[in-house]
């Protein structure tokens, strides 16, 4: 992207380097939305390539795509639906954690809503698998929960 001769920051681009060594460019105004990046710019200056150790070349382009739309004010429900449509559960999770690392609030909240939608009406086992979470309840605690769990509303008149 060409840089203006004047010192306005609206068309300045920032270079980001992912954890696996690839470099991507974003506009300075988009970088402002990612507070982690902005902090690094403040510390290191905006002429240096900003290193992002925890974000990789698979997800960064998607994030950049989101914020490109955001700075033009074009984020609509349709865009958001399209954005997550082809993502599988793992990809959403990875994006979500990256958005958290980058402190990119808007994307973070949008994705957390999307994850909540994906968990809706699912069983405890499914949710554990989805997040890769281990069941760390003791057998006593587990059996106490299983009693209380008998109330599950999934088919209140049938067995689970």
């Amino acid at each position: 992207m060409a840089q203006e001769a004047s010192s306005s920051t609206s068309s300045k681009t920032i270079s980001l380097k992912t954890g696996d060594g690839e470099i991507f460019e974003i506009e300075a105004s988009a970088a402002k939305q990612m507070k982690t990046v902005q902090r690094l710019i403040d510390d290191l200056g905006d002429d240096i390539t900003i290193p992002l150790h925890n974000v990789f070349s698979k997800e960064l382009p998607k994030i950049i795509e989101y914020y490109k739309k955001d700075i033009t004010g074009e984020i609509t429900k349709d865009f958001e639906a399209e954005f997550v449509k082809d993502l599988n559960d793992d990809e959403v999770k990875v994006l979500f954690l990256a958005a958290n690392y980058l402190d990119a609030n808007k994307l973070f909240e949008f994705l957390s809503q999307n994850i909540a939608d994906r968990l809706e009406s699912k069983s405890v086992e499914y949710v554990r698998k989805y997040f890769g979470v281990e069941n760390d309840f003791t057998p006593e605690e587990e059996s106490k929960l299983r009693e209380e769990r008998a109330w599950s509303f999934r088919g209140i008149k049938e067995d689970e």
């Binding site: 958290n100 973070f108 909240e109 909540a116 809706e120 979470v133 309840f137 109330w151 509303f153 209140i156």
Partner: protein, 301 residues
């Protein structure tokens, strides 16, 4: 959103807690209860007070699965017991912070449901009752004894108003908002003036309203700020003759400073819905809308 960059376990746990609470805020109460059983850290996050200001049972599933569609739902003993268990479990997660309870419109409410949730929600300020159920005099009194701070109620025909107002007289001196959903008669008006003298907000929209009862509350409730009469029919019987009145007939008989809401075609919710609705829609649908909607924001949900 807090951001912690260091890598030690304590800060990671804190991070997980905050992230989970954010995800959980959009879950329905049923899914939140499921989430609380996944593991210990999820259990902890599911107890965050941020998630428990309101217990909304009117939406059991965001995708509309397994939603009871008609009143008197889940009346059998097995289902009723399950409901009690669920109410006890969710209120134990809440740690007593629940300040608003919205019962599911169609699910049959029994004494034991009301009493067991009341015992665990001492900070309740707003109560929205369902359309079907069987609440006895003792049931409502026991419940209101736990809910002395109650300020706002959506009343349905499920509790007899005499029992309700007797209980209000004994335990709830702070009622300031009321919404009726079936009809408004002179006896209701007398109860209001006698037992809820501090009433500020009254909604009696979309129903039959007795003329003398209406004038009585307008003239005698000194603190009344707003009354919603949108789409209500004001009528009365004199010498066996039923007459319908307009809002102007009412205004000429009372001396008030409160605001009265009536239908103003363009901005009216009901008129808007009417245009979008097809003529074959079941009346039950619109009854639930009456229960749910209100131009007064604190009485809508």
């Amino acid at each position: 959103m807090k951001k912690i960059i260091s890598g030690n376990k304590y800060s990671n746990d804190h991070l997980i807690y905050e992230i989970l609470v954010i995800i959980f805020t959009t879950l329905s109460v049923v899914d939140l209860a499921i989430a609380s059983m996944v593991c210990k850290s999820w259990n902890l996050a599911s107890r965050s007070p941020k998630l428990w200001k309101k217990l909304d049972l009117s939406i059991l599933s965001l995708k509309g699965m397994n939603e009871p569609l008609r009143p008197f739902a889940w009346m059998d003993q097995y289902s009723s017991q399950k409901i009690t268990q669920f109410l006890k479990y969710t209120s134990s997660l809440s740690g007593g912070t629940i300040s608003c309870i919205i019962f599911n419109y169609n699910v049959y409410l029994r004494d034991m449901h009301l009493i067991s949730i009341a015992e665990r929600t001492p900070n309740l300020k707003r109560l929205v009752l369902p359309i079907s159920g069987n609440i006895s005099k003792i049931g409502i009194e026991t419940a209101l004894r736990s809910w002395r701070g109650l300020k706002s109620i959506t009343i349905t025909s499920m509790v007899h108003y005499i029992n309700l107002f007797d209980a209000i007289e004994k335990y709830c001196t702070n009622i300031v908002c009321l919404k009726f959903t079936y009809c408004f008669e002179q006896d209701h008006a007398k109860s209001l003036v006698k037992y809820t003298p501090n009433l500020k907000v009254l909604s009696i929209r979309s129903m039959r309203v007795n003329m003398r009862g209406l004038c009585y509350v307008l003239n005698n409730l000194e603190h009344l700020k707003v009354v919603n009469l949108r789409h209500s029919i004001i009528l009365d019987k004199f010498d066996d003759e039923l007459r319908i009145y307009s809002i102007f007939d009412v205004l000429s008989r009372v001396n008030i400073s409160c605001k009265i809401i009536v239908c103003q075609r363009r901005s009216c919710l009901r008129c808007k819905n009417e245009n979008m609705r097809n003529s074959r829609r079941l009346s039950n649908g619109s009854l639930e809308e009456i229960w749910r909607e209100d131009e007064i924001i604190c009485l809508a949900h």
